[in-house]
């Protein structure tokens, strides 16, 4: 199982590095990867049906509780089959669709990376590894949307999609961590046992809110839906695969997966119903306002995702069953519609639904596929879409007081989606063929066989629901609902309210298709509301955030080093002052303090005066001299307190510094006054606070008893081991000899630097060259 998931990543790496060694025939070989995985997953059908779920466990980071454990049950098997099955068709389709594209290998690399990550999402039992795969799908989707990397619009859409889904992923991560904190495990299977504890905990609201944001962003729910139409900038195979059949369903997967764990509470149901209903109606209305085939499909996909969220929100057994069937039905017909759109685009160069017509004259098989897909999307009997629609109406009708409203919303959405589906699947093929498309011809079977195959599946599963009823849908239903109820898929439910609603949907949808023609004018009118669309609001929100970040950064990273120093030290001082005033007992242990003699007082006074001079004077020479005095006073302190070596060093160095200063700098003009009085006062206050802080800290440290073990070791062994009487010298040249050597090197570097700065001639005259 691990290999099945990882294979796509290995393949992606191989393709991107070694493709140049392969020849052109190789794209067909690529398609073997999803195909073989599809067959691999098919063989689990029987086992899942009998056992319920299978766990595969591989250790990864045991110390953090993160494992690569995979859980294969009905839900994940359905997704795995969709991912690999539709993946195989898309791989085959792409061989012709992008034939001869210079980055074809790269495309396959991204595509297989996506497939592997998506498999990881639906198979992971460990929530952390699921999160990692989840983010990997966002990243591969980013690459695929931006595949036409020279088109700025592509890049922008890719970035929008990545920021929305990436943001949602991060929010979900916090949800996962919170869930782990409450439930005590990252493993979904283990968490299932503590479902009641989690639902009753105080964090429950937060957990579901965080998960909702993750699911809604991924599955393009209102108000995060707008990245999906933008993502249609990707090549059509990508739209088919990621943005209709699989990736956008990851959010649905998440909600379905967590239904037995977190579901069936008031907030869970009401939030999902509200968001789902708003999304499905909003997007369905939008889908019939568009004229670009891909936009129509994008909005109808969003609407379908809304239906799924809505159904999961209703949460009754019927609704969950409807969701399970609809996931499959939608994947089959929507992928087919996208592939057909791709063919039309490829052959005619147009996706404008107002112009396209009569193409059945030149591409009959494609027309057949489009016809089946459109009918399935409409929910015509004998097609899988019909069954899902029937069960959905049953579910909404059973929903207590709200049944009428919910059913009405569902019917409205279905009617509008019917129109959208007909526009995409039937309108381009009927009527008279316009002059400009006369040259279009039937493309290679590589393009039209995949959608036709999908259509045949819609038809087969729809006409003979028993084909999938027990093998696939039953396990899916069991894993979403967490119950053992046995389900029955029937073609004929008897003559009842549901059937009337179904007929009403078909008739009014057909009538609407007849009267409502796609029109650019209506589309233009909707643009007026663009300024209040969620996309605009969120985008301007992100702009405000960016400019706030800019202001924030410019305030702190303003390019003036001294302001950085001020910020850091002011913060440090205030923080320490807060701590010091807040309970540290500052005292002086007079026992430890040595008495003061009069010559020491003289040096102290001298030092203070010269410090003040060095700071306040405006003359360079005076401040250099004052600095010299500070150094010499320091030297005297060393001398008083038994440090002759220090005194000697300080003396010579101080002398040298003053001399150097005098020689080099005295010729500079007088100091100018750069700063205003206010700034000086501010700096002075900060400096005094900082100085006081250092003094207090010194006092505190001084009062602490200290250990002299190291000193004692050096003192005891200086003569015995190192044959030296001056302990300080012994430490420097013997015990810490290496340090001293490096220090010498540093001095040499400084000396070389000084020398070269003096000798450096920036404007050499020509004769030197």
């Amino acid at each position: 199982m691990l290999i099945a998931v990882i294979l796509g990543f290995i393949f992606a790496i191989l393709v991107s590095f070694f493709s140049r060694f392969f020849k052109k025939a190789i794209p067909f070989v690529y398609s073997l990867l999803p195909l073989s995985l599809f067959i691999f997953f098919l063989q689990f059908l029987g086992e899942i049906k009998s056992k319920g779920h299978i766990l595969f466990h591989y250790q990864w980071i045991p110390s953090l509780g993160i494992d690569l454990s995979f859980r294969l049950d009905g839900l994940s098997l359905l997704f795995a089959l969709m991912i690999t099955g539709i993946g195989a068709l898309v791989f085959i389709y792409t061989t012709y669709y992008l034939k001869g594209h210079k980055y074809l290998d790269r495309f396959y690399g991204y595509l297989s990376m996506f497939m592997a990550s998506m498999l990881g999402v639906v198979l992971s039992d460990n929530l952390m590894s699921m999160f990692i795969f989840w983010e990997l799908t966002s990243i591969s989707s980013y690459f695929l949307i931006g595949f036409n990397n020279e088109d700025p619009a592509s890049r922008k859409s890719a970035l929008t999609a990545l920021s929305i889904t990436g943001f949602g992923g991060l929010v979900m991560l916090s949800g996962i961590i919170l869930l782990q904190a409450v439930g005590g495990s990252y493993s979904f299977t283990e968490l299932l046992n503590s479902s009641e504890i989690i639902k009753n905990s105080t964090s429950y609201g937060w957990i579901i809110a965080l998960f909702f944001v993750g699911a809604f962003t991924k599955s393009a729910q209102f108000p995060f839906h707008f990245w999906l139409p933008g993502a249609m900038k990707a090549p059509t195979p990508v739209s088919t695969y990621l943005h209709s059949a699989t990736m956008v369903k990851a959010g649905i997967y998440l909600l379905a997966r967590f239904t037995p764990l977190l579901g069936d509470t008031f907030w869970w149901n009401s939030t999902l119903i509200t968001v789902g209903a708003v999304t499905m109606v909003y997007a369905a209305i939008h889908s019939v306002l568009r004229v670009d085939l891909k936009s129509i499909l994008a909005y109808s996909t969003i609407s379908a995702l809304g239906i799924l969220v809505f159904l999961i929100g209703i949460g009754t057994e019927k609704a969950l069953l409807a969701a399970g069937i609809f996931i499959l039905a939608h994947a089959l017909y929507k992928a087919a519609l996208f592939l057909i759109t791709g063919i039309i685009d490829h052959e005619t160069g147009s996706r404008d639904v107002t112009k396209l017509a009569g193409l059945q004259q030149v591409m009959m098989p494609v027309a057949v596929a489009g016809f089946i897909a459109a009918l399935s999307s409409a929910g015509v009997p004998l097609l899988l879409g019909f069954i899902s629609k029937e069960v959905m109406y049953e579910a909404t009708l059973q929903f207590g007081n709200w049944a009428i409203i919910l059913t009405a919303l569902a019917v409205l959405t279905k009617i509008l989606l019917l129109v959208a589906g007909f526009w995409a699947g039937i309108k381009p093929f009927t009527g008279a063929l316009p002059e400009e498309f006369k040259k279009a011809k039937l493309p290679s079977p590589l393009l039209w066989v995949p959608p036709l195959l999908l259509g045949i599946m819609s038809l087969g599963f729809g006409a003979f629901p028993s084909l999938i009823g027990q093998t696939l849908i039953q396990p899916v239903f069991s894993s979403i609902s967490g119950t053992d109820t046995v389900i029955q898929l029937k073609l004929w439910h008897g003559f009842n309210l549901v059937l009337i609603l179904s007929i009403f949907t078909l008739v009014s949808g057909g009538a609407l298709y007849w009267f409502l023609k796609p029109s650019k004018e209506i589309f233009q009118k909707t643009l007026r509301f663009e300024s209040i669309s969620p996309q605009n609001i969120i985008e301007s929100g992100s702009k405000i955030f960016a400019s706030f970040a800019g202001i924030w950064t410019r305030f702190f990273q303003n390019g003036y080093l001294r302001n950085y120093v001020i910020t850091i030290l002011a913060f440090l001082t205030l923080l320490m002052a807060y701590r010091l005033f807040g309970g540290v007992n500052i005292y002086v242990d007079w026992e430890q303090i040595s008495p003061v003699s009069h010559y020491e007082i003289i040096v102290v006074v001298l030092m203070i005066i010269s410090i003040l001079f060095a700071i306040s004077t405006n003359s360079r020479s005076v401040s250099i001299v004052a600095l010299g005095v500070v150094g010499f006073a320091n030297c005297l302190f060393f001398l008083f307190y038994s440090a002759p070596d220090l005194a000697m060093t300080q003396f010579s160095i101080d002398t040298l510094t003053v001399l150097l200063f005098m020689l080099v700098l005295v010729k500079l003009p007088k100091n100018k006054q750069y700063s205003s009085k206010g700034i000086k006062v501010r700096d002075a206050v900060l400096s005094l606070m900082f100085g006081t802080l250092i003094a207090i800290l010194t006092l505190e440290v001084f009062e602490e008893p200290s250990s002299y073990e190291v000193s004692k070791y050096f003192a005891d062994n200086a003569y015995l081991l190192a044959k030296g009487r001056n302990v300080v010298n012994v430490i420097l040249v013997d015990y810490r000899g290496f340090d001293t050597m490096i220090e010498t090197v540093v001095l040499v570097i400084a000396a070389v630097g000084v020398y070269s700065l003096i000798k450096l001639d920036l404007n050499p005259s020509k004769k030197d060259l």
Binding site: I601, S687, T698, R736
Partner: protein, 117 residues
């Protein structure tokens, strides 16, 4: 006496920081040197003050017979003084050079990197 030294250490740090925050490069170096002196004195003080007993073993003895000043901070400070000198001399020459080329002592006029040199 330690109290007086602590006051001086605080003063050196305060003065050093104040000068470091000036726009003039010359004052900045003064600030650097003051800070260095303050830090040296701080380390030295924390080795405790001992009068008249340098850490030198008397002739004919193999170990210390009497109390002695802590040699470790002294070794540290000695290193610090020397390194500090390396830094100071380099900085002094550098600002001289900058002044010769750009004719300014003002740090804020060095913010642009496109200066013709």
């Amino acid at each position: 006496m330690e109290i007086l030294l602590i006051i001086i250490i605080g003063l050196l740090h305060a003065g050093g920081l104040y000068m470091l925050l000036r726009r003039s490069m010359f004052k900045m170096i003064i600030g650097l040197i003051l800070l260095g002196n303050g830090a040296n004195l701080l380390i030295f003080l924390l080795g405790r003050l001992v009068k008249g007993h340098p850490p030198v073993i008397e002739d004919g003895m193999k170990v210390f017979a009497d109390i002695y000043a802590d040699p470790v901070p002294q070794a540290l400070v000695l290193t610090a003084i020397v390194i500090g000198f390396g830094l100071q001399s380099f900085a002094i020459i550098l600002i001289k050079r900058v002044y010769n080329v750009l004719h300014t002592d003002d740090l804020d006029e060095l913010n642009s990197t496109d200066e013709e040199i």
